[in-house]
Symmetry: C2
Subunit: 343 residues, 2 copies
């Protein structure tokens, strides 16, 4: 009974604080939301909520502010998903449909997400580890150098220049190219090492060094750089909170420039279905203690391949942002299927 009202109070506090960015007091709360009770009652509830750790006061005789824990409860139990309006959905789809290739899809996605959420957006390129190889190409670029290009079914292209100790012959390169093509086409990256075990057998002894160095670079490219690329957009939104808030942007910008950090933020989300929300100190990353990260994975075919999401202050519009992230992830999945699919 009172328990229920207490939660309503917490919900109201979160909503008001997100809207005004000011500590909210008992009186204004009663005025704005029509809870049918007096400020004094609300104060009692607030005291209890504070006891339990869901809200806090910046200083005595100030209003209350939600804690990370408060936001957590709000996200888990108190917020309703607000679906996007259908004009919004159409706008998303139309915008993404115009993309001409994978880079363009990623670039458009990240800008779109930043724009509709008014936050800093992140998009991870489709993972190579679950991709399959569509084509592999070797191009001699000088007497001792060969450029290797790998094309995946998600449309991603990886390249690498391979340096050989001895000059290489055009014919050997051609032979290796076609053998690699036969051995690897349609294989997932995980299957590649096994598929390559016997690759050097047919080659003459003097050609084997070339084969070996190409293969080692190939394996390296597939594992080491498998998930590396991440795009970001909308960092300017971080500066919107006029220098006042407990959001010093410098540590945030610093954290967001670390590939490793971004990978940790997005990587985990790929393993989980639905929208993932990490609030404040729940983030496993130094520098992001005052931010929340909302992520969702997207898929290509039936395989989850990568994640996208946004980073913003903990006092953000969770339901709205979650809905946007969810929607964009779905549309990206669809676009990837349409553009690359049908095999």
């Amino acid at each position: 009974m009172q328990e229920e009202r207490r939660l309503a109070v917490l919900r109201a506090i979160v909503q008001d604080y997100v809207a005004t960015h000011e500590p909210v007091g008992s009186k204004t709360l009663v005025e704005r939301h029509n809870l049918g009770v007096s400020p004094a009652t609300i104060r009692n509830d607030m005291a209890a909520l504070e006891e339990e750790g869901y809200i806090a006061q910046p200083h005595t005789s100030a209003g209350r502010v939600p804690t990370d824990l408060g936001y957590r409860l709000f996200v888990d139990r108190l917020s309703e998903v607000k679906p996007l309006s259908s004009p919004e959905r159409r706008a998303i789809q139309r915008f993404l449909d115009e993309a001409v290739d994978l880079d363009d899809v990623m670039a458009r996605t990240v800008r779109l997400l930043a724009q509709i959420t008014q936050q800093t957006a992140l998009v991870q390129y489709p993972s190579l580890t679950r991709s399959t190889i569509r084509h592999i190409e070797l191009v001699p670029v000088s007497s001792t150098r060969v450029m290797m290009v790998i094309i995946t079914d998600t449309g991603r292209v990886e390249q690498r220049t391979v340096e050989c100790a001895q000059p290489v012959e055009e014919g050997t390169v051609g032979d290796l190219r076609s053998r690699l093509g036969v051995a690897l086409s349609g294989k997932t990256f995980a299957e590649v090492p096994e598929a390559l075990t016997d690759i050097e057998d047919p080659f003459a002894a003097e050609d084997r060094p070339l084969v070996r160095v190409v293969v080692s670079h190939l394996l390296e490219a597939l594992t080491e750089r498998a998930d590396e690329r991440i795009m970001m957009s909308g960092t300017a939104h971080l500066a919107r909170y006029g220098q006042a808030f407990p959001l010093a942007i410098q540590p945030v910008l610093e954290a967001l420039e670390e590939q490793v950090v971004l990978m940790r933020l997005l990587g985990e989300a790929t393993t989980q279905p639905g929208v993932m929300v990490r609030i404040g100190r729940e983030n496993p990353v130094e520098g992001l203690e005052a931010t929340s990260v909302i992520t969702a994975r997207y898929a290509h075919g039936e395989q989850a391949v990568a994640s996208l999401g946004v980073v913003g202050p903990t006092h953000m519009d969770y339901p709205g942002t979650m809905a946007s992230v969810h929607a964009v992830a779905r549309y990206v999945s669809r676009i990837l299927d349409e553009q690359q699919g049908s095999r």
Copy 2:
């Protein structure tokens, strides 16, 4: 005589202001630099410099601050280039040498530049318009889709998915690929349109739609996206000036997210030799009125191909930053030649 001292005073003001970030007065100026005259004399000089528009006072009874014009004069006539120390040079070279491919060179360059200048760094990918085509590849990815991959002599890879109205045959694709290879290998992008004029002649009438659509995408990819890619790093440095300075970072971050803006900043520099400095309002870009942009072009072989540079507050260390930008541009040129060169 007095003219000479006046310039010395301006130089001293710029140096002090850059070092302390505080308006500098006549007394401290005399103390720190040993100009052989009294504060009163300096004051007269300052009044003259202010009259001419090189310095200004934030308010009456404060010290002087250089204006954009003052920095301009400083850069043009008063500063000496300070060469990098040789450990620094070695560190740069070693760091860039470890790059494995073009993406890696660019990524390392931009991070390096941000790190040594302690500013926000920009690096433009080698322009396609002056590049030559090393290899062109067509890969069927479904019955009606073909992926086109273009490899340039700078190691850059462009890709594009081409959609055809009718199903395409493997054989036709192979034929087109080899003809394109013959027609385009070694051509610069500018020469491509001419080289393609007769390409569809040998094909049967029913194959020409395919040829046409591939060619049109090819041309589009080469022109439209020719100079598009730019990497950025070190945005966190913009936040270093503890919200105090006339450097509101939000407009700066917003400006730096616009590809068009970045292109304007870097594009012009490609046409000019040496290091280019644009100070405050000299920048042709809204949002960067309080920043200076220092750029230099880099080259591949004898062709200038693109630019790199940094963006920072107008009160920056011009000689040091110019030296760093210059040095990095030279090393990038060298790396590109070494890695891709020897044709």
